[in-house]
């Protein structure tokens, strides 16, 4: 396992950012998904020791995050969300510097910095001062400093933030490329669902400091494949009442259509049987949950309902 979290709580004064989170990030690429303020960045910073963990236990690559902090930091890379730069240095000097800080020999760091800067697309700009970089270039240099020492685990905090569509695409390609090499596990914290959908095998959904979902991306989509969007001819109200009495859940309702989640182990045949029995004709039946975004929205709604 790359990361294990056991009842992790992180507080800023009286504000609880992460509340008793228990989760496992296995090897591979894991998305840490959630809206702004969900606690994603705080969780990563807590794991890195940048903010204190109030309670709970966490391990990274088998090492306790508090006792083995210095050893862990040799094995991980961190791309912060903020616009972080080492002022006064050129791109090459900054990546070399961070490589040396990570424990690389000076010559190795120099040689590797050239390679990494070419890999992230900053080969031509490597002799420019980092302060003069555009937003997109700053994102790339942050990635370069995080991967220069080829860490075993890479934390990416909102790597596509502030990028134009093309830059975003390139950044995701790069992340995919690194993930495909298979030498590095990646934890990608983002609020952009498509980024997770495109790059991650697994997703942990956070909201208000709690874990809402922890599953494989594909499984999550599959798990909800018994949700359908349907349109009927006939008495809609009584049909919906019937569905509810049979254990179905009615979700979003549009003018003509509504979404229904069937009880576990039931298929669409079940709907047809009920429709036939109540004299209703099903005009349209399509799977309602098709993207991770739908899952995310659904989970958020469930969470809000539970709060009420």
């Amino acid at each position: 396992m790359s990361v294990t979290l056991d009842q992790i709580t992180i507080r800023y004064g009286s504000q609880t950012a992460v509340d008793q989170v228990t989760a496992v990030f296995p090897e591979g690429t894991t998305g840490l998904l959630g809206p702004n303020g969900a606690g994603k960045s705080s969780l990563i910073k807590g794991l890195l020791g940048l903010v204190p963990i109030a309670s709970g236990k966490a391990t990274i690559l088998g090492e306790d995050v508090i006792e083995g902090r210095k050893r862990i930091r040799r094995l991980i890379g961190y791309m912060p969300e903020d616009e972080c730069l080492i002022p006064g240095l050129t791109g090459l000097a900054m990546v070399r510097y961070t490589g040396e800080l990570s424990g690389m020999a000076s010559q190795d760091a120099m040689q590797r910095s050239h390679e990494v800067l070419f890999a992230v697309g900053l080969g031509e700009a490597r002799y420019r001062k980092v302060q003069t970089y555009s937003s997109g270039m700053k994102q790339r240099i942050k990635l370069a400093q995080a991967i220069v020492h080829d860490p075993k685990l890479l934390f990416l905090d909102e790597p596509t933030s502030g990028l134009d569509p093309r830059g975003r695409q390139e950044m995701l390609d790069l992340i995919q490329e690194i993930a495909l090499k298979g030498t590095m596990s990646i934890v990608l914290a983002t609020h952009i669902l498509i980024d997770v959908e495109r790059t991650c095998e697994r997703v942990v959904i956070l909201n208000q400091g709690h874990v809402m979902e922890d599953a494989k991306v594909d499984a999550l989509r599959g798990e909800l494949s018994n949700a359908f969007s349907i349109r009927i001819d006939g008495d809609r109200e009584s049909f919906q009442k019937l569905l509810k009495t049979k254990g179905c859940e009615i979700q979003t309702e549009a003018k003509q259509e509504f979404d229904v989640t069937l009880p576990a182990k039931q298929s669409s045949d079940f709907l047809f049987q009920l429709a036939k029995g109540s004299g209703v004709t099903i005009r349209k039946l399509v799977p309602a949950i098709q993207t991770l975004e739908d899952v995310f929205v659904k989970r958020l709604q469930e969470d809000r309902r539970a709060d009420l």
């Binding site: 800080l101 890999a119 080969g123």
Partner: protein
């Protein structure tokens, strides 16, 4: 197969078993600060060195010292000569500490670089030690290096071992004074750099030194009030280390304790201020 693959490639090298992050920070800091104005300042600071060098030459090469008249006592090469040289360099020493030190941490804070630093395998001591070494290097160029060179020149020109036998301890005193000054004043400027912005840190640095000295002068009738002046404390300790008469009437032990206290407070504030993440309330 491409001739040169620019895609991401895993690294097959090995990390150093015991990397010295403080040294990496120090050497990068020194390289970054090596700018024209620093070189100008260093050239400027070499004038007193040249004058003292001429003094040594005169005292050793003018055969009949009576030719120097009443100045003979004043020109004599003794511990007072070296203490005087260091005292003369004080302003440039403070200037270089203020100009270089003010931005050392403030710029990292401004560009949020602390998150990058502290996600690497380095400790608080590595970071502060590295930054302190930058100050130590540049301040050494205007204090320790010329002072030790003057000592060597005196040894070479004196022609016998009498001076070395009598004053072998002078280089150690020079080193001790330099280390104490860098620890105390370097600690102070780094603390300010970690607390306010670049220019405010430099201004506050001089303000604190001047204000504490003004208080000492105003309240000079109250015993031991001079301890409140960092400058006076350093002067007192310097005099003790060179075996010269003490310039102030308070106890040198008190001065040692006061300086230790300043270093302790600075470290405490640095510890609190050097947070990688600014918490917005």
């Amino acid at each position: 197969m491409p001739i040169y693959d620019q895609a991401y490639k895993p690294w097959e090298g090995q990390l150093l078993p015991n990397p010295k992050a403080w040294w990496v920070i120090a050497k990068t800091g020194i390289r970054l600060m090596w700018q024209k104005w620093v070189i100008v300042l260093l050239v400027f600071s070499s004038f007193p060195f040249a004058v003292r060098g001429v003094q040594i030459y005169l005292m050793n090469r003018v055969g009949d010292s009576s030719q120097l008249g009443d100045f003979t006592d004043k020109l004599e090469i003794n511990p007072g000569f070296f203490e005087g040289f260091l005292k003369g360099q004080t302003f440039l020493f403070l200037l270089i500490l203020a100009i270089i030190g003010a931005g050392l941490i403030a710029n990292d804070r401004r560009f949020k670089a602390l998150q990058i630093y502290f996600s690497k395998p380095l400790s608080f001591w590595d970071y502060v030690g590295g930054k302190m070494l930058v100050l130590a290097f540049y301040s050494a160029l205007i204090t320790v290096v010329p002072a030790i060179l003057l000592f060597i020149i005196q040894l070479l020109l004196s022609g016998d071992s009498t001076f070395l036998v009598d004053y072998y301890w002078i280089p150690f005193s020079i080193l001790a004074i330099w280390m104490i000054s860098v620890l105390v004043l370097g600690g102070l400027i780094l603390t300010l750099s970690a607390s306010v912005n670049n220019s405010a840190a430099a201004i506050l640095f001089f303000a604190i030194l001047m204000f504490s000295d003004i208080i000492r002068k105003i309240l000079s009738r109250i015993p031991d009030v001079g301890l409140a002046s960092i400058g006076a404390d350093i002067q007192q300790v310097t005099a003790v280390l060179f075996g010269n008469p003490r310039p102030h009437d308070f106890s040198p032990y008190g001065a040692w304790i006061a300086l230790l206290l300043v270093v302790g407070i600075c470290l405490l504030i640095l510890r609190l201020r050097l947070r990688p993440t600014e918490v917005v309330k």
